[in-house]
Each structure stands twice: as C-alpha cells, then as structure tokens.
Symmetry: C2
Subunit: 191 residues, 2 copies
DNA sequence: AATATTTTGGAACAAACGTTCTGAATAGTA
DNA sequence: TACTATTCAGAACGTTTGTTCCAAAATATT
C-alpha cells in the first residue's frame, strides 16, 4: 500500500475557504492558496482538483456550515423568538468577525456567470428560507404574527434583508447602524 | 498643435463601464477592454490611466447616472408616491435589463479591500439614502406615514432592501418574485 | 526486507496578465 | 510648407497566472 496524506484535507480546505471568503475567487491566486494552505501545488491538485473545483468545495462547505449555524442560533421558547435570535446572531457574527457572508459575496462576483456556483448558493438560500418559513408558519399558528401575513413571503423578505444588512455593514462599518436595521426588521416582523 | 482624438472618451468609457458591470473588475482583462472599447491599448492608458483608474472612473460615472435615474423616477403627486415609484423603477430596470446594480456588485467584490472603491460607493449610497430621507420626512409631515417612524432609519432600510432585491433576482431570476418582495416593502413603508 | 502505491516538493510550462515602448500617421500652428 | 505636439497601431516587456510533470520520500502490505 501507499503513503498516507500528511495533512487533514478538511482542515486545509477551510484555510482555502477563509482565503476565498476574504479575497473573492478571482483575486485569489493559486500561489496565495499554496502559501495559505501550507500545501504543495501537486497536493492541492491531487486532493481537490483545479482551482475552480476547490472553490466549489469551499463554497459547499461554507454553505453547509452556515445552515448549521443558523439552525443552532434558533434558540427560544417560541417560534418568533427563534426567528429573532437567528437575525441577531447573524448581526453578531458579522460585527464580531468583520466578515460578511461568503455566499453573498459569491452571488455578486460569480453567480451570474457560473452555473455551479449559482446552484450551490441557490440551494443554500432555499434551505434557509424554508427554515424561516417553517418557524413563521408555527408563529402564525400560535398567533405570534398577524394572520394576514404570508410566512413564505416573510421568510424570503428576511433572507433578502440579510444581504442588505451585509451591504450596509461593508459601507458603514458601523455596528450600531446594523443593529438598528436588524431591530427594525424584527419589529416589522412582529407587527 | 497636435492631432485630435478620433473618439469620444465619455462614450468609450461607458462601453468599459458596461463590461466591468457585467464581468466585475478582476474578471475583466485589459484585452477584453481593448476589444470592447474598440481602442488601442496606448489610447486607453493615455486617456484614462491604468486599469484601476479606468475602473474608478467607470464606477463614478455609474454612480452619478444611477443617482440621476433615481431622482428621475421619483414621480408622483405625493412624497410617498415618489418613494413607491422609485422602488418600482428599480425593480423594472432590473428585470428589464437582467442586470443588477454595479455599485452593489462592486461592494461585494472590492469595497472591503479597496478604499477608493469604498469611498465612491459609500458617497453614492449616502446620496440615495439622503434623497429617500427627504421624501420620507415630507411624507411624515403630510401624514402619509405614521408618526412613530424614523425617516432616516426607514430610508436606510429601503436602500438596504434594494440589495436584497438584487440578490433575490440573481438567484431566482424570477420577475414575479422580486415584484412581490418590492410590493411587500412598499406596503410595509405605508403601514 | 522487498514491493507497490501514493504523497511530496519543486521545477517547468505555456498562456494570459497589465503595462510600456516604438515608429508611423495625423493635424493645428507658425 | 515646415514644424511640432499628439494619437494611433501593434509589437514587446517582464510578471503572474493556472496547471502539469518528475524524481525523491514515505509507508502499509506482502
């Protein structure tokens, strides 16, 4: 049999993911990746395929982790409280790390021209919207939101607003500003 | 004296702008620009400077034109009607051209790492928010929106929602979907 | 211990990148 | 008409790009 890998593919991929996340796809060179991942070029190609393939894996990894985090953030005794905490946790993560959503970055850089990227992000987006929809349906049943609201539409509205929050944060770099907008969104949902 | 330029610098810059708009900054090569602008490399460098400088001029041009368009779209007999028409015109322009906002694309591709880009977009963003704020202040005075609303915050919320609409459009490519979200936003403002 | 299979590090590749340079063409001024 | 400043077209520049290749090192099985 053969020699074993000296590194953990998952762990190194996350290093690549963080670099793509920070710089974007096109601005990240293979040389950057070699340095950041601490791997040889050959090892990268053997393990992950070419740059584009590696990127897709990073994006998929990110999307899966993000969905998990969203669900973990859905804490609370009532559905609407869960929704609220999800929104607050997105804001908190953004201002704490200073980073926005990799999938959203990717949407605007690549999704219009790259079908594979579009597919990964779109599926992730749908998963998140579906999760919100479920919670909002519950909230409606319990009477926490008004009966004339459409849970699906409201879920899509919330998800779309995340992107707005990130845009606002990139431009203002103002924690308070983003928190105010998020709170406004939450108030809007409740009434 | 010397030979005169055989082309209109403004007109050719708009060709470059449209290409950057479509492909993004990093994915657009100088060769692409030479082809699309129909100019010699030397002429481009002489007239606009290097690639980055050309991009900044394109982005500035875009921002100015976009602000003008926003103001032109503010038709109506009452302030809130103007706001409504501005929102609807953004949706209409998006689904008609199939293109999103260049400044938003640029925010997510470059604004986090490029101070000049950040500055151009941020100023444009502020101009748009200020314009909304003025209209909403008027609307509040006239009693078209409730007295407990903060015009500034509402203006920022609307602007942020544009980004959400564009993200939604890129992923869904669904005209109806975006229109529904926009209408939801409008209803929210009014109530 | 020998074998077989895979990883590793780094050299090497052609192509594409952004940019500069050169000489010929052009046209307003003297 | 001669002069001069500028544009034009395209070759050429040195880097950087993404990718491939190769010999040496490594290890689980035979």
């Amino acid at each position: 049999m053969a020699r074993r890998k000296e590194f953990d593919p998952e762990e190194r991929m996350e290093k690549a993911r963080d670099l793509f996340w920070e710089k974007g796809y096109n601005a990240t060179s293979m040389e950057d990746l070699v340095q950041t991942m601490g791997l040889n070029r050959g090892s990268i190609y053997d393990t992950y395929g070419d740059k584009h393939s590696l990127y897709l894996q990073c994006l998929g990894n990110y999307a899966a982790e993000k969905l998990r985090e969203h669900k973990e953030a859905a804490l609370g005794t009532s559905p609407i409280e869960k929704v609220e905490n999800m929104i607050l946790s997105v804001v908190e993560a953004t201002v704490n790390t200073g980073k926005c959503c990799m999938a959203v970055n990717s949407t605007f850089e690549l999704a219009t021209v790259d079908q594979s990227v579009h597919s990964i992000i779109n599926n992730n987006w749908k998963d998140i919207v579906n999760f919100f929809e479920q919670l909002l349906t519950d909230a409606k049943k319990v009477g926490e939101i008004s009966q004339d609201k459409d849970p699906r539409l409201l879920a899509e509205f919330i998800a779309a607003n995340f992107t707005g929050l990130w845009q606002t944060y990139i431009l203002s770099r103002d924690k308070k500003q983003v928190e105010k907008l998020a709170q406004f969104l939450i108030d809007m949902i409740k009434h």
